[in-house]
Amino acid sequence: MSDEFILEVKNLKKYFLAGRPALFSRTEQYVHAVDDVDLQLRRGEVIALVGESGCGKSTLALTLMGLENATEGSIFFEGRDITHLTDRERKSTRQRIQMVFQDPYESLNPTQTIEEIVTEPLVVHGLAGDHGERQAHVVRALEDAGLKPAEEYMHRFPHQLSGGQRQRVVIASALVLEPHLLLADEPVSMLDVSIRAEIINLLADLRESRGISVIFITHDLGTVGYFADRVAVMYLGRIVEIGSMREVLTDPKHPYAQALLSVIPVPNPRLRRKRMILQGETPNPIELPVGCRFHPRCPVAMNICKESDPRLLPISETHRAACLLLAK
């Protein structure tokens, strides 16, 4: 394992048992939530994981966190294999990987004060023994998350804060453990557009000031610009395109990435353009389409797409996409 990478994911699969097609059927059906994902993340790097609901991006995050058990494959974190650890063994890793959840209205316990919420991780991990030291950590985390001065907020309850402030509390409670990797699962999708920038800028600043690596999960390609170094587009449990932010946003190769990009609203009525709106919705990940998984919705599908399942093909040193058009 090279030291360059903080996280290396190899052939990761996560299947959920979906039951049997009939009561006495011998075959079992599986939801292929994450199906053979490879991913490498450098120290201090921000990667955006983009896809619609059901593409497996949240399951991937939960599996990385150890909140779901991987079906196959391996996850290396800071050189250590963390794929199958017991809760006890995982505890030290947990401290280094933290997660920010989507819904700041649901992810805070309404009966705890902000101080209790941010102190909790320290208590759970038995860190920062005496009260003064603990408080200092909490104040620092809150202020780093932009809740200044921290004393203003510590004694409040979540319902007394706005959505953006709550999301900052969630981020503070992740920061208090001084993690090396932050998994942000749709951290802004529930917030007003005017507040989204604030949270994204906050995450960007944390990367600058603390050198934290970030996996930023979103369904909206529009929010990943400026902030992400690389972008990975997921469809039905697989990464279908990965490359630097510039490569994916300005020159996407996979038709799915192209479509996702084309539907992002452009805030200028003079630039209204033809959008590539895919019809239908992501098929269910139980019975996957044969051949390329995207072919039933693909506007440029060829006959061969119904038979052959493309792997990621290199376009440049950093840019790869899984489309048979590129193989020609």
């Binding site: 619609e52 609901s53 966190m65 909140l67 809760d87 995982r90 947990r94 401290q95 933290q98 997660m99 959840f101 649901e106 992810s107 805070l108 316990n109 009966t111 705890q112 909790e120 991780p121 759970v124 991990h125 004393e151 203003e152 907020y153 510590m154 004694h155 309850f157 007394q160 959505g163 969630v170 409670s173 007003d192 557009v193 005017s194 507040i195 989204r196 920038a197 604030e198 994204i200 960007a204 369904h219 390609l221 529009g222 610009g225 400026y226 510039r246 946003l249 992002i264 609203p265 452009v266 805030p267 009525p269 003079r270 630039l271 209204r272 959008r275 709106i277 895919l278 019809q279 919705e281």
Partner: protein
């Protein structure tokens, strides 16, 4: 000179407990129950001081004292042994309450533990525990208690244990279902992500949220335990050494109180039981009303406030197409606790035939309130204070409710925010659309309605075979389409779409927007599109109304809004929006938060967050200015510059 950004009020620590007490004081039933209970507890505690006689001694009692009617010596007469009924009643309250509280304590602990463990761990353990609970629940309590107590020595301690050990089943079931609900909430997942163990999660995250329910349940379990004890004593299975109300009834009943006409010997202990149980029930009901928000009631404020707002007639004329909906100087107030909150102030706009108007602003800026006023669906505390809403020759602001009912859906219909979750899960989607048609056009033959449902589904892009499917078989996007079909069911001229794509994925969002745009062209609909997303507005709207703090910030054609915005709020909103053509550009956000309705600034409502604010903005509310081409701006800067 810039005004400092939104000042934060010093944090006021208000614990949920003080908030709870404030709510509780307002609940008449709960307070009455609590007072009844406290009184009887005081009586029990101070029994030796309150009782005129000692019920344990029979000194000086002769056969002439038996069943004496109420007199000055014995206020409630005497019983079969010539003892003072009042004194026995007072001492009896001790036994009833002790049995009630201790037995309930045992029940609550057992039920709570079983409920939480079953709910949290799930799987086989849950199965075993809950089947055991079900079995216990099916066995009739009272006969079992009677049998067990009859077999063991009838002492107070035995009675407490038997009642306690058999009374936990309902608690276990209630606690389990609440635990299941809490367990699935995101903060529990977050606690696991932090690395918290099971014990920590149960103690810090599950228990605090189960506790309110447990308290309500405990109150009911106490009253059941008291009733059970009384029944046991009445059947002669009570502790013979302890006088309880049940035992008083037993003695009076068994020793000829009825034939002697000594009603007091029966009525007094009976009254005690009713008093305690009633007190507990009222208290339990009161607590439940506060702790279970589903039962919460709206408090209506009678009367309409007479508030005059300065009328400024600026709507701007931008089109020669006939006007469908003409809103002028509309102000909406929320009235509650003697305060008036000016939620919407002096908003005017015009919606032309076939126009798509975007209504933009952050959460809490009055968008939804304004739309609810158009539909006349404001909550009880909300009132249209002034202004008019002209639609097809009527003024909707003053229309009577039954006339308004005619216009709703047939004239103006609405797709509510998050409406896709509002479908009834046990009825097919086709059925629910048919219901909407029948409700507004009663008497249509079944075949016509059916054909109309199919037509509507086709219109919104749902295949006919999905008509008889249930909502859970629909995806989020399809459900939203079904809601649009429902809104179109009575051929409205105006459709209000309140954040119809929030919470949907980008691709589905694009599909829904395309659909709305198609429908507008096909049916000539006028649409008011409410959103906080400026990008969506730029993609499809003709004109845009930007609202801030319940007021018009800017109202203009979509081109002016994006390419020549004049209000600082519009400018800031645009900067906050990611521009894909410049992905390297750092996003800016507007510091601070929209004003609260109960703390609106005196001057311009945007001043505390405005980067360009100057003295005048803090003291004086800006007027609406009309620029060329019907471009309306509510900002002092327009005046300064011209």
């Amino acid at each position: 000179m810039a005004v400092q950004t939104a000042e934060l009020k010093p944090s006021v620590p208000s614990s949920p407990l003080t908030g709870f007490w404030r709510e509780f004081r307002k609940n008449r039933m709960g307070v009455v129950g609590l007072v009844m209970l406290v009184l009887i507890v005081i009586v029990a505690i101070f029994a030796p001081a309150l009782a005129p006689y000692d019920p344990e001694t029979s000194e000086g009692i002769t056969s002439r004292d038996i069943y004496n009617p109420p007199s000055t010596d014995h206020w409630f007469g005497t019983d079969d042994a010539g003892k003072d009924v009042l004194s026995s009643f007072i001492y009896g309250s001790r036994v009833s309450l002790i049995v009630g509280f201790f037995a309930a304590f045992i029940s609550i602990v057992i039920g709570g533990v079983i409920g939480i463990v079953a709910g949290y761990y799930g799987g086989r353990l849950e199965n075993i525990l809950m089947r055991f609970t079900d079995t216990m629940l099916v066995i009739p309590d009272l006969p079992l208690i009677v049998v067990i107590v009859a077999l063991t020595k009838p002492s107070l301690l035995n009675i407490i244990f038997v009642i306690g050990l058999l009374g936990w089943t309902t608690t276990a079931r209630v606690v389990r279902s609440q635990t299941l609900a809490v367990k699935s909430r995101k903060f529990v997942l977050r606690a696991r992500a932090i690395g918290a163990g099971t014990r920590h999660i149960i103690l810090h995250h599950i228990l605090p949220l189960v506790l309110p329910l447990l308290v309500v349940n405990a109150i009911l379990v106490i009253s059941l335990a008291i009733l059970n004890e009384s029944t046991l004593s009445f059947l002669g299975l009570g502790d013979p050494t302890a006088t309880s109300w049940g035992q008083m009834l037993n003695f009076a009943f068994g020793r000829g109180a009825m034939s002697a006409g000594a009603w007091w010997a029966l009525v007094v202990p009976g009254f005690g039981i009713v008093w305690v149980v009633l007190g507990l029930t009222l208290l339990g009901h009161g607590l439940e009303q506060i702790l279970n928000p589903r039962l919460e009631s709206h408090h209506l404020m009678p009367g309409r406030p007479t508030v005059q707002t300065e009328a400024v007639d600026v709507t701007g004329k931008r089109s020669d197409v006939p006007v469908l909906l003409d809103v002028r100087n509309l102000s909406i107030h929320y009235v509650g606790d003697g305060q008036v909150a000016k939620a919407v102030h002096n908003v005017s706009f015009q919606l032309h035939e076939g126009e798509l108007l975007g209504l933009v602003g952050e959460s809490g800026c009055g968008k939804t309130t304004l739309m609810m006023a158009l539909m006349r669906l404001l909550p009880a505390a909300g009132q249209i204070a002034s202004g008019s809403i002209r639609f097809g020759g009527w003024d909707l602001a003053t229309l009577k409710e039954d006339e308004m009912a005619e216009i709703r859906w047939k004239g103006i219909s609405i797709i509510f925010q998050g409406a896709m979750n509002a479908l009834n899960p046990v009825r097919t989607v086709g059925d629910q659309i048919a219901e909407a048609i029948n409700k507004h056009m009663p008497g249509l033959p079944h075949g016509v309605v059916n054909a109309r449902v199919l037509e509507l589904l086709d219109l919104v892009g749902i295949a006919a075979e999905h008509k008889d499917h249930y909502p859970h078989q629909y995806s989020g996007g399809m459900r939203q389409r079904a809601m649009i079909a429902m809104a179109l069911s009575c051929d409205p001229q105006v459709v209000i779409a309140d954040e119809p794509t929030t919470a949907l994925d980008v691709m589905i969002q694009a599909q829904i927007l395309e659909l709305l745009d198609d429908l507008r062209k096909k049916l000539g609909l006028a649409i008011i599109f409410v959103t906080h997303d400026l990008g969506v507005v730029a993609e499809m709207c003709d004109s845009v109304l930007v609202m801030y703090g319940g007021m018009t910030a800017e109202y203009a054609s979509v081109d002016s809004i994006y390419n020549a915005p004049r209000h600082p709020y519009t400018q800031e909103l645009l900067k906050a929006f990611p521009d894909l053509s410049k992905p390297e550009k750092r996003l800016t956000s507007i510091p601070g938060y929209p004003p609260k309705l109960n703390a609106l600034p005196d001057g311009c409502r945007f001043a505390p967050r405005c980067p360009l604010a100057f003295e005048r903005c803090v003291t004086e509310m800006p007027r609406l200015h009309e620029l060329n081409g019907g471009h309306i701006v509510g900002c002092h800067l327009v005046e300064e510059k011209s």
